[in-house]
């Protein structure tokens, strides 16, 4: 199925829960309805998105929102779908899908690690790539690099070059 047909199916199954962003082939979902929509994506016989290809957080600065982009693929039906969820930077929270697609487990931990997005209901939400005692979320655009980490100077010391 192409994007227009997937959109039609979703419009019938869960009206008012999904939205599009201009003419881009992706659907926008609000965090509070993501639980229902994600279940539908996996279980609906017309959609059967059994594979989560990628889950990436992003920070576009513009309006104090963080976002998460999900890329799904159906190995059976051979179609894909991009889902975008936006959440306020103040208190970023999105329901976890780690129990539906196990691939989301580590990817959600990574998005938490880098952007501080809380995935509600995740089995073990903790940092994955950075050390557990790291402060701040480095991929946020307003992240300010600390001077030291456990006594180690982080900033590049250029005095030696002069």
């Amino acid at each position: 199925m192409d994007f227009a047909n997937i959109k039609k199916v979703l419009d019938v199954r869960c009206p008012d829960l999904i939205d599009t962003d201009g003419d881009r082939p992706s659907i926008m979902v609000k965090p509070e309805s993501w639980g229902i929509v994600s279940n539908l994506l996996k279980t609906d016989p017309d959609l059967t998105f059994d594979s989560l290809m990628c889950l990436s957080g992003f920070d576009l600065v513009e309006d104090d929102h963080l976002g998460v982009a999900y890329h799904f693929y159906s190995m059976d039906k051979r179609h894909d779908l991009e889902v975008i969820i936006r959440t306020p930077k103040e208190n970023p929270s999105i329901p976890s899908i780690a129990n539906i697609w196990r691939a989301a487990d580590w990817h959600e931990r990574e998005a938490y690690d880098m952007y501080g997005i809380i995935f509600e209901g995740h089995p073990d939400l903790k940092r994955i790539l950075l050390p557990d005692d790291w402060e701040g979320f480095p991929l946020r655009k307003d992240y300010v690099q600390a001077d030291t980490y456990q006594g180690i100077i982080i900033k590049k010391d250029k005095t030696y070059w002069k």
Partner: protein, 380 residues
């Protein structure tokens, strides 16, 4: 054949022990730490702890021009750098709508398949080494050396190539490259039969790997496992066929899948065997590509300034380890707003707790070896 060890809890008093394997351990293939919960010698749960090699790839990308990112992708998967370059170039070309000359596509396929052979040789050699077979490793590294020599001749580097650029490749094929590649193929084809005699059908190797660490196809898909590890579970899925890019649609090759020849579908031996067969397919592809490579200017489509339009792209590519995905958001400037790399080994490793549960620690070594991970791309 190996079977899961059975412990009668009513006869022995056991208690759980937590064991750390790594970060410095010869069979973790890099700086990976596995926190293993064991019951005697039987694994009950594994927590992989990663991030020891984290080099802030994605953060760096947000401060670099698009063309400057290519050498960074090299460093992510240092065993198969060519594929990383190609995956990135492909994503950028899709974002910018660049049409690449056919000669470039053929060169990319040739070097890509050579790289696949080189990468699989390391994967299979170290897999054998992990479970005690030392000779195959030295033989495979010896043959990989020939491929690295070819690459050195091609672009000057043996591991980190920076060869495939957005819109083209950095240099045309050097004189004699085609002849030397043909010589390599003629040399390598009988070598694969020797590997089969030495390792593949070795009784000890089969005993150690057949029926061990079975990965069912639905679990593999749910965990996002891709590449030879997924095909080992019997799923016929290869982006070179199913979402064909570059010159692959014009070339003939098969997609080998695991069939449970020595044990069950999706065991360690199947994952090994799929890689072995893939090397044969790669040789077939290179052979065809060398015969039909067209002429042309390899830098004809390389843009002077890499400045994609506003928008985003998710593009995936079949590397030696599985699907690499690049999610790139552009705001029309010369540096990306966001570049996410979905690394194949990251997802492949996450399944280990699921499939290693109930096996002995020595089997865990075989399972980890069969997944073929590279920590550089897991940690990025």
């Amino acid at each position: 054949m190996s079977t899961k060890p059975h412990i009668d809890q009513s006869l022995v008093k056991t208690e759980e022990m937590v064991l750390n394997m790594g970060p410095q351990h010869p069979s973790t293939h890099g700086v990976l730490r596995l926190k293993i919960h064991t019951d005697g010698e039987v694994v009950s749960k594994i927590e992989p702890i990663i991030g020891y090699l984290h080099r802030c790839f994605e953060k760096h990308c947000e401060h670099l021009g698009y063309e400057q990112i290519v050498p960074f992708t090299d460093r992510c998967d240092y065993i198969a750098s060519m594929h990383m370059n190609h995956g990135y170039a492909l994503a950028m070309e899709r974002l910018m709508g660049i049409e690449v000359p056919p000669r470039v596509e053929y060169i990319r396929v040739i070097v890509g398949e050579l790289q696949r052979i080189a990468s699989h040789l390391v994967a299979l050699g170290t897999f054998g080494l992990d479970i005690g077979a030392i000779t195959p490793f030295t033989w495979m590294i010896r043959d990989r050396e020939r491929i690295l020599d070819l690459f050195e001749n091609l672009c000057g580097a043996r591991l980190l190539y920076n060869y495939i650029w957005v819109g083209g490749v950095s240099h045309d094929l050097p004189e004699k490259f085609i002849r030397r590649t043909k010589e390599f193929i003629d040399y390598f084809t009988p070598q694969m039969d020797e590997f089969d005699q030495l390792l593949t059908f070795n009784k000890i190797f089969i005993e150690r790997t057949a029926d061990v660490g079975i990965l069912p196809p639905d679990v593999a898909i749910n965990y996002g496992v891709t590449g030879p590890s997924l095909r080992g579970s019997g799923v016929k899925w290869d982006l070179r066929k199913d979402e064909a890019y570059s010159a692959y649609p014009e070339l003939e090759f098969d997609v080998p899948v695991g069939t449970g020849k020595m044990g069950s579908v999706g065991d360690c031996w199947d994952r090994y065997w799929v890689r072995m067969l893939e090397m044969r397919e790669s040789v077939r592809i290179i052979d065809q590509a060398l015969k039909s490579i067209p002429d042309g200017d390899v830098r004809a489509a390389v843009p002077k300034k890499v400045r994609p339009p506003k928008g985003s792209v998710y593009s995936r590519f079949e590397t030696a380890r599985g699907e690499i995905g690049y999610y790139i958001i552009s705001d029309g400037k010369n540096i990306p707003v966001r570049l996410k790399m979905r690394s194949p080994a990251f997802c492949n490793l996450s399944v280990i707790s699921e499939i290693a549960e109930g096996w002995m620690i020595s089997d865990l070594i075989a399972i980890l070896g069969s997944l073929d991970i590279v920590l550089g791309e897991i940690d990025r």
